[in-house]
């Protein structure tokens, strides 16, 4: 069941020059409903018209014991900047939970979670769910430089973590798709979220190695719940809404690679 709800900002931590981790809880502390990894929220920015539409942000983590949702936000424009400026104690209105989710496997296997930049956001929640199932996720995180790799200790608590940076300041130098674990291993299933070129490469790799693969899209959205038909992605079944049929798609459904 989707809701429109006022949250209170419990904490807002600047992780580096452009990313904030914002933890929010329902204003009257009503218990959070079930949420799934890969789902997202639509954040109302101010109640200004300057930023007219809500901004979609992944559910980074659900801290049940504290009744909190975590949002990992990268400042790329006016909307995300304003969200990152949220003061502790301030209200934040969310429509949530939105979208489908990553597929949680039923059997043990080798599961790789590949994130680039702020695309790692939904992977923390996914990694948690996998580890709750008893599977040990492997994370492969990429960034331009060491500071871009976010929430490293949280990821390390859940599974093994490999990193790449373009300048070599953390982990292997290069893009995630150049990392040696990809050459040295084969994975049953790969989950990925990040810049599209990265996801395309990951999907190619998955195809080549016969691994299953799900990607999380960041198409432009107006509503976020299937009403406007603005966020469509071309799929093998025709145009599908990235907000309701996605944001997670199996690469077999997409027309990215021939």
């Amino acid at each position: 069941m989707m809701k429109v709800l006022d949250f209170i900002v419990r904490s807002n931590e600047s992780l580096n020059y452009q990313n904030n981790l914002i933890k929010v809880a329902p204003i009257d502390n009503e218990p959070l409903p079930e949420m799934l990894p890969g789902q997202f929220v639509q954040v109302l920015v101010d109640n200004s018209n300057a930023i007219f539409l809500r901004r979609p942000i992944s559910i980074n983590f659900v801290a049940r014991e504290r009744n909190e949702i975590w949002l990992l936000v990268q400042r790329v424009g006016e909307g995300t900047r304003k969200i990152c400026e949220s003061a502790v104690g301030q209200k934040l209105n969310l429509v949530f939970p939105l979208g489908n989710s990553f597929t949680i496997p039923q059997r043990a296997g080798s599961y790789l979670l590949v994130g680039g930049g702020v695309g790692t956001a939904p992977l923390l929640f996914l990694g948690k769910k996998l580890s709750e199932k008893g599977f040990i996720p492997q994370f492969l995180l990429g960034g331009r430089t060491g500071r871009d790799i976010l929430q490293l200790s949280e990821f390390e608590a859940l599974g093994s973590v490999s990193c790449t940076t373009e300048d070599g300041s953390l982990g292997e130098k290069g893009y995630v798709t150049d990392h040696s674990i990809l050459r040295e291993n084969r994975f049953d299933f790969i989950y990925t979220c990040g810049p599209k070129p990265m996801m395309v490469e990951v999907a190619r790799y998955a195809n080549a190695t016969g691994s299953g693969c799900e990607v999380s899209l960041e198409n432009l959205m107006a509503c976020g719940f299937g009403a406007c038909l603005c966020c469509v992605e071309k799929t093998t079944r025709g145009n599908r809404c990235a907000c309701t049929d996605g944001p997670v798609f199996n690469i077999n459904e997409l027309t990215w690679i021939d």
Partner: protein
């Protein structure tokens, strides 16, 4: 509750608050957020004879106090609506109005014919104003002659309530309203979106795959309100007003300007429960102003 009820032709709405086509899906998309049974009516998605995939991504661009869209009437076609969608929504305790679009006059007629027998669809809204499809739509809505022709053709086959949705992209919208009134429309609804455009300066490219798209949201409200007022003063049939409504106050402004009912469009995306707030807000306004019925607001602007 009857102080809120209004009539569009023979159609009685429990209140003037309805939701605009293309922004409210088939209602179900909002079932988690609103009590659909409280709405005056639901104007469902633009429906065409044949299924349409719509335009390519990107179909949306944010603008100051509004947005552009170029969805392009993505829908599964009228047969799918009748066979698959209608059964699932016909038991709402509100009216379903189908927004009918087409490229040719024949399209509109065929679509209307397929809908006329649906018991729970007491009305259709002829969309002669979609700016997002190459073949037609808006072309019908920008001349009196073609607007009259399509209205006449559909009127001949559709005895139930016929609403014609007007395009704001014209020099004289009142003239077009009169033309469709003369051909037997029971009501006019206005406005559809304004043809607009957005450019990504850094990439030097249009933001929409279709270059131009339809502008909606609070930014258009002042123009829409003026058009409603002009049309109200030009025709005798009831006017259904819309364009940027985001609050009960906005709705009341449209009613004062002459709207018998109003539609909420884009703002449903920002606050999916806005329609309920608008109903409550109108009730509250009537109470505060000691008015017995919404008819004491409709067209009651004091000049």
């Amino acid at each position: 509750m009857d102080r809120l009820s209004v009539k569009i032709g023979n159609l009685k709405l429990q209140n003037p608050v309805t939701t605009a086509s293309g922004t409210f899906g088939y209602g179900v998309e909002y079932a988690d957020f609103v009590d659909l049974d409280r709405l005056g009516a639901i104007f469902v998605k633009g429906t065409t004879v044949e299924p349409r995939e719509g335009n390519d991504y990107p179909r949306m661009a944010e603008t100051p106090s509004g947005m552009l869209n170029s969805v392009g009437l993505q829908n599964r076609g009228v047969d799918y609506f009748v066979g698959q969608i209608y059964p699932g929504i016909k038991d709402y305790n509100t009216h379903i109005v189908v927004n009918v679009s087409g490229s040719t006059l024949e399209d509109y007629v065929q679509c209307a014919q397929k809908l006329v027998d649906l018991e729970k669809v007491p009305a259709i809204e002829l969309n002669i104003s979609c700016p997002n499809v190459k073949e037609g739509g808006m072309a019908f809505g920008t001349s009196c002659r073609s607007a009259a022709a399509v209205t006449r053709a559909v009127r001949d086959v559709y005895p139930k309530t016929l609403i014609v949705k007007l395009s704001p992209n014209v020099t004289d919208i009142a003239e077009i309203a009169r033309a469709v009134e003369d051909e037997g429309a029971d009501s006019v609804s206005l406005v559809n979106t304004f043809l607009g455009m957005a450019i990504d300066a850094e990439r030097r490219r249009p933001r929409l795959s279709t270059v131009t798209g339809g502008l909606s949201g609070p930014c258009i409200k002042p123009i829409a309100l003026r058009m409603v007022w002009q049309v109200y003063n030009a025709v005798k049939i009831p006017v259904i007003g819309m364009g940027g409504i985001s609050s009960a106050t906005d709705a009341i402004e449209f009613m004062l300007a002459g709207s018998t009912a109003i539609q909420i469009g884009t703002y449903n995306f920002i606050d999916p429960a806005i329609s309920m707030k608008v109903i409550d807000g109108i009730e509250d306004y009537l109470k505060r102003h000691k008015l017995n019925s919404v008819s004491e607001i409709i067209g009651k602007l004091e000049i």
